[in-house]
């Protein structure tokens, strides 16, 4: 159980995104999916903006952008994987044929940027890549070419503060929950927020499409889309957790849409299900209630809990790691603010 704390703009979300990318670093789709989770579909940022901002920026972004990022991932079996990515934007110029009638000739059409993303993977445990050769993906402003399925190191699910507003991952997760006969546990989670919820079903109203419904004892079947944000978010956590089985579940701003009083119950569920599914949990938060709920949910043995305080990026300080005992001490006796 990993807590990420720190002020706004300290990079908590960036850490979660980096972990999400590292789970399948050579897949272009993974990069794009992670970037797309930042916002709702209706507010989509252009593709290259999504990609370019995965890389460090130390000057204003003008006339294209080049960036490099590297990461070392040590897996629980001790294997260390080095990931290096280089991103390069360039102008894509479309030539217009010279007019035959001799009229004025403009030799360049307005151009747009394209980009390449080259990824090197050293010590790839799956052995899907040649050591010295990068995977090269090409991106235009609107589309990209994903060469191959990627090299998934661990299963991973990223849940952002807006994920519950989309049902992209939700349906697959609910399907998995039903298949794994985990419905009773998930219903108990939802009952923390709405005590009259009795069932979750995937229904096909009027024979068209699959829609998640919750059954309330008082009002019957209710499509998930009209449930409150808290219900959708809690269900989103459960759904993401089963899909992250054996890997990582990344929850950005975990307290979003949840009442502080509901946090304890939600965390108890998360800790239980993550242990059951062998999922390592990474949670970013601005909420002391969330920190306390996490502490309470792990019980007396806090050895599985750790917090990382991310300093402001201009502070010159390093990330500060606090073990479970230290977190508990900080939150006892009136509790100091460790955010």
């Amino acid at each position: 159980m990993n807590l990420l704390v720190g002020k706004n703009n300290s990079g908590k979300t960036s850490v979660l995104e980096a972990l999400a990318i590292a789970s399948n670093p050579t897949s272009a789709t993974q990069w794009i999916d992670v970037g797309r989770e930042r916002e709702l579909k209706s507010a989509r940022t252009p593709l290259l903006e999504v990609l370019g901002w995965f890389f460090p920026h130390d000057h204003p972004r003008e006339n294209g952008y080049d960036g490099t990022a590297a990461m070392k991932v040590t897996l629980t079996d001790g294997r260390a994987v080095d990931i290096r990515a280089e991103y390069r934007e360039f102008r894509q110029v479309e030539m217009t044929p010279e007019p035959e009638d001799g009229s004025d000739f403009v030799d360049e059409e307005p151009s747009e940027y394209a980009a390449t993303l080259e990824i090197w993977l050293k010590n790839d445990p799956i052995g899907s890549l040649l050591e010295e050769l990068p995977v090269i993906h090409e991106f235009s402003g609107r589309s990209f070419k994903d060469v191959g399925p990627g090299s998934r190191l661990v299963p991973c699910q990223l849940v952002t503060p807006v994920s519950h507003r989309t049902s992209r991952q939700l349906l697959a997760g609910i399907d998995q929950i039903l298949e794994d006969r985990m419905k009773p546990e998930v219903i108990r989670l939802l009952q923390l927020l709405a005590p009259d919820v009795e069932d979750i079903e995937i229904r096909s109203p009027q024979g068209r499409g699959a829609v998640i419904h919750l059954y309330h004892s008082k009002i019957g079947h209710v499509p998930l889309a009209v449930e409150g944000d808290g219900m959708r978010r809690a269900l989103g956590f459960a759904s993401a957790c089963v899909q992250a089985r054996g890997g990582m579940l990344l929850l950005d701003e975990v307290e979003t849409a949840l009442h502080p009083e509901a946090l304890s119950g939600v965390f108890r569920f998360l800790v239980e299900i993550c242990r059951e599914q062998r999922v390592q949990l990474f949670v970013s938060t601005h909420s002391l209630e969330a920190v306390d709920a996490m502490l309470a949910s792990v019980g007396d043995d806090v050895s599985d809990l750790v917090a990382y305080h991310l300093p402001h990026r201009d502070s010159g300080q390093d990330v500060y790691r606090l073990g479970g005992e230290s977190i508990r001490s900080m939150r006892s006796e009136g509790g100091v603010d460790l955010r």
Partner: protein, 274 residues
């Protein structure tokens, strides 16, 4: 230029007031409201009430809230942290971690211990060190294995003082009684007679005297000194705890400041904040 920051760890509120009186001599004034404390240091103020203990269980509403005392002069801040017994090391560790999270540097750390029931100042120090070394994730290296009363320049500057004077068994009451001898001689003598008469009174049952421990034991001696000081405080500032009298009355004025044991504490504080 950033202010000099000192953490001064003491064992109880009466020790805190005694040190505050010495700090007043350096122009330090207590800052009592949140708005008077810079944002940077406010993380040291506990956020939750009622508090919970180490095991996450509720602390009674009647227990004091563990808020540090904030003192400021022209160029420095001193935060007096009140620990007490086995909580002392934990209190200091928590404040150090908080300073790391808040992003300020601690220039000096002073630890004031007493040794009511200890045999030597070194044993009081060792007991503190044993607790402090259990603390994890400390942002600085602070090795208190130093001679009591001596400061080392690490940084941070470190020192540990065992009341009353790094040599004798005792506590703050020993200092207060010496101060009382020069500042309130008659009151001190009367308070002694009163205490002895009262404790010898047949009205008091064994249960009434249970607080004093075994007759003739170290605990009894220590509690009797406290009773003596409290009897003086009951006249100087009735109905309030002794720390109020330390703050408001003349315990640490005039000739008391020239007493060797008081001067030893004062020198320790002077060197710590230098």
């Amino acid at each position: 230029m950033p202010a000099n920051i000192t953490f001064l760890l003491v064992e109880g509120p009466h020790d805190a007031e005694f040190m505050a009186r010495l700090l007043n001599l350096h122009g330090f004034e207590q800052r009592k409201t949140v708005s008077a404390i810079p944002e940077l240091y406010r993380k040291l103020i506990p956020k939750d009430y009622p508090a919970k203990n180490e095991k996450g269980k509720e602390v009674p509403l009647t227990d004091p809230h563990p808020v540090p005392r904030f003192y400021q002069n022209v160029e420095s801040w001193i935060f007096i942290l009140i620990g007490g017994g086995s909580k002392s090391a934990q209190t200091l560790a928590k404040a150090l971690r908080t300073s790391r999270i808040a992003g300020f540097t601690v220039d000096a750390i002073g630890v004031i211990l007493d040794q009511d029931l200890e045999a030597t100042p070194e044993e009081a120090r060792d007991k503190f060190i044993a607790e402090f070394t259990k603390e994890q994730d400390l942002p600085i290296t602070a090795d208190f294995n130093i001679k009591p009363g001596i400061l080392v320049q690490c940084p941070p500057r470190l020192g540990l003082f065992v009341l009353p004077d790094n040599n004798h068994t005792g506590a703050l009451e020993d200092l207060l009684l010496e101060c009382g001898e020069v500042q309130y001689k008659a009151l001190k003598d009367k308070a002694l007679s009163f205490r002895d008469d009262a404790l010898g009174n047949a009205d008091l049952t064994a249960d009434d005297l249970a607080f004093y421990g075994k007759p003739g034991g170290l605990k009894e001696i220590s509690k009797q000194k406290k009773a003596w000081v409290s009897a003086m405080g009951a006249v100087l500032m009735p109905s309030v705890a002794i720390q109020n009298s330390i703050r408001e009355n003349r315990w640490l004025e005039d000739q008391a400041l020239a007493l060797p044991k008081v001067q030893a504490v004062q020198k320790f504080i002077d060197d710590l904040i230098a």
